[in-house]
């Protein structure tokens, strides 16, 4: 949407289509990257604090003068970022160097492309595709190529195990996630995220906002299946077996250090943003206000979207610091024998519901 608006605006100045396209992409892409970096920094800080509070600790703190992490440790992630940037970048002697260097970029591209279609508000969206849902699901799978590349190129057994586990996991969990996101598509009759959010205006059953999650019992279940599959796709506990620290040391990231590792980290948090964004847009009414008709003008849209997003990210952190980790075969069991049948059943249920009530 932003890109289209910028191009329209450039067209009013003069006729230079290629240049205006490039300009529009850069002008909207740079803030997107900043969003990604800022998200990682804030999310790392919040995650540290949330985990600390859950464990009766207080996390990063700094009170005194000198090289401290600032009040309440607010500068901690900034210090971490600086440390990662100046850290020695090691590449193993026996690694496949080209693939080893390429892998972080591919993972980054996967996360970055997905972020482009997230509708932060009714106007703040870099690219408003007519197949937005499909697009996000599709580019989300690019990351797994990068993970397998990283694991293979490291020439390390731990990395290889991590990569193999990751490939199996992400590909499997895309199926329940995809089957569940079909339900908002069925309800709204569109794949366009903005139109999907517009569909969720108004009330349902008098009090509740007309979000797809509240529409009928099947959509309610579908949201949870989608969200848990999304957690699995982002490789977070209880589905963090690709980097299971107590088993595989650091999984596919074992050999990475410095900035390359930071890129992985950035992408992981950006992926959280993308999948939560899709869940918010598809099930939780996007930038719609929870009280229909109130606080829904202008910047409130951004506020509501971000609050829902942050809440979902918080729930992911909450999961992470509460649950143990599943085993590989149990992970597959949950995916193929629990989520997929229920997701299929949901599709039938929603179809029949629409036939009868809608």
């Amino acid at each position: 949407m932003t890109v289209d608006m910028l191009m329209d605006w450039f067209a009013t100045i003069g006729d230079f289509p290629i240049l205006s396209f490039l300009l529009a992409v850069v002008i909207s892409g740079v803030p997107l990257f900043l969003v990604m970096a800022l998200n990682a920094m804030v999310a790392v800080y919040v995650e540290r604090k949330v985990s600390a509070f859950m464990m009766d600790r207080i996390g990063p703190m700094g009170q005194g003068p000198g090289l401290h992490a600032g009040k309440w440790g607010l500068l901690q992630t900034a210090a971490d970022a600086v440390k990662l940037l100046v850290k020695e970048d090691t590449i193993p002697e026996t690694s496949d160097k080209l693939l080893f260097k390429m892998a972080p970029f591919i993972i980054f591209i996967g996360a970055f492309l997905g972020l482009a279609a997230v509708p932060f508000s009714s106007v703040l969206q870099v690219a408003d595709f007519n197949v937005g849902v499909f697009y996000i699901i599709a580019v989300g799978s690019i990351g797994v190529i990068g993970i397998v590349m990283a694991g293979w190129a490291s020439n390390n057994k731990w990395s290889l195990y991590g990569a193999m586990r990751s490939a199996a996991q992400i590909i499997s969990y895309e199926i329940p996630a995809g089957l569940s996101i079909i339900i908002p598509i069925m309800m709204a009759g569109t794949m366009n995220l903005q139109e999907m959010i517009h569909f969720q205006e108004g009330n349902v059953w008098g009090i509740l906002p007309n979000w797809i999650i509240f529409n009928n019992p099947f959509t309610f279940i579908a949201f949870f299946i989608f969200f848990i599959s999304a957690v699995a796709e982002t490789n977070r506990t209880p589905f963090d077996i690709p980097e299971a620290e107590s088993e595989l040391v650091a999984g596919w990231m074992t050999e990475y250090s410095g900035f390359r590792w930071a890129v992985f980290f950035l992408s992981e948090y950006a992926n959280m943003l993308v999948v939560s964004g899709l869940a918010v847009a598809g099930f939780l009414g996007g930038w719609q206000s929870p009280i229909p008709g109130m606080f829904d003008t202008g910047a409130w849209g951004l506020f509501w979207f971000m609050s829902k997003l942050i809440f979902l990210i918080f729930v992911m952190m909450w999961f992470r610091w509460t649950f143990p980790r599943l085993r590989v075969d149990q992970l597959m069991h949950v995916c193929w024998k629990v989520f997929i049948p229920i997701a299929m059943f949901n599709i039938f249920g929603v179809g029949i519901w629409k036939l009868i009530f809608g």
């Binding site: 057994k157 509460t322 980790r325 599943l326």
Partner: protein, 372 residues
């Protein structure tokens, strides 16, 4: 290691690895994720405990016993001094016996808390680990209050203990137990009953009772397999025969008898039993002088003694041979963790790498004691 077939791979776990509980190296033959053989390599923490003991006096051995099982140093001390007193035929004052049992059981709780917390960490749950460490910290505070050290105490001496209990210790200890007992329920709700945890541990790494006995596995690992054997009950030393407590055994709570969950669960129940013993001991503790029976010079008569005690990890035996001089002729330690590790290869064949970590954690080994 056997011949590596085309579809097999040797994976080297350790000595630097997050969940080998010290510096253990496991050479694992894997077929994909499935483990076909494990060979543990020891010796990274070898400090010549037994040889070293032959060159120092009897009382100087006690700091070295601390450093064998460093997570339950009180129980290590306990075993050594009980063996020495048997050799020298010393009858210690009653108060000393009570103090030793209080300290030993507190340290059992501390050791089990660490074992359970780290086990959660192996499975992937971080938070219970910190809760358990938080409560273990309170026990260590009490030890520090008593003998000045938090980990390596050198508290129990032949014929007594180094310090009497400090002021108000009984009250503080009861206060801790009152605080601690509800926490056990919280651990259970947070970790033990968690479905993911149960799935990861139940039916995994089953040690049948006959295998456990033939390998010499002892302690909670043996009781997890359903064998009711506890040295405190069956061969009572000190004054353990005066206390009322049960010996919890595994019952296949969520899976098969002798699986990882049973070993975990036995430890959890043992904490409760220790609390019971502590309450009785704190109620009955008599007065008296703890230094009354300390020998002026430790010079046992010619002869030898073998005494086993129940440390948190199992049968901890000391064989002490004296030739009448102030230094021991031979000190041999029978380490429970060593036999527990020896069963690892047999039980983890056919399981996945994640399960090997779970089985290793459930055995609760301490490398300081294995290598000595």
């Amino acid at each position: 290691m056997g011949v590596v077939k085309g579809d097999q791979m040797i994976l080297n776990i350790g000595p630097q690895h997050p969940s080998t509980h010290g510096v253990l190296r496991l050479e694992v033959m894997t077929d994909g994720e499935i483990v076909s053989e494990i060979r543990p390599h020891l010796g990274y923490l070898h400090r010549c405990f037994e040889k070293h003991s032959e060159n120092v006096t009897y009382e100087q051995v006690i700091p070295f016993t601390d450093r064998c099982d460093y997570l339950a140093a009180m129980n290590s001390n306990f075993g050594y001094v009980v063996a020495m007193e048997e050799l020298m035929e010393i009858k210690v004052p009653e108060r000393v016996d009570y103090i030793r049992i209080i300290m030993g059981e507190l340290n059992r709780i501390a050791s089990h808390l660490l074992a359970l917390g780290v086990y959660g960490l192996d499975i992937g749950a971080f938070t219970p680990f910190l809760y358990m460490l938080r409560d273990r910290e309170r026990i260590l505070d009490m030890f520090e209050y008593t003998c000045g050290a938090r980990l390596l105490y050198n508290y129990m001496w032949v014929g007594g203990v180094s310090h009497d209990l400090p002021k108000d210790f009984e009250k503080i200890c009861i206060g801790f137990l009152d605080y601690f007992e509800p926490q056990i329920e919280e651990y259970n709700n947070l970790l033990t009953y968690n479905k993911i945890f149960v799935e990861r541990t139940a039916d995994v790494g089953v040690i049948p009772a006959d295998v456990a006995v033939s390998y010499g596995v002892t302690g909670p690992n043996l009781r997890g397999s359903g064998v009711k054997w506890d040295v405190r009950k069956d061969e009572p030393y000190s004054i353990y025969d005066r206390f009322e407590f049960d010996v919890p055994v595994g019952d296949g709570h969520f899976g098969t008898l002798g699986d990882c969950f049973d070993r975990y669960w036995v430890r959890m129940l043992e904490i409760k039993e220790s609390v019971k013993i502590l309450r009785q001991a704190l109620k009955d503790i008599p007065g008296g002088d703890v230094h009354q029976m300390l020998p002026k010079k430790i010079r046992p008569p010619k002869g030898s003694v073998y005494r086993r005690t129940e440390s948190p990890r199992g049968d901890l035996g000391y064989y002490i041979m004296s030739d009448g001089t102030p230094t021991p002729y031979r000190v041999k330690m029978r380490s429970p963790a060593f036999t527990a590790l020896s069963v690892l290869d047999e039980v983890s064949r056919g399981w996945m790498i994640s399960d090997v970590i779970a089985i290793l954690g459930s055995l609760d080994i301490v490398l300081g004691e294995i290598d000595r």
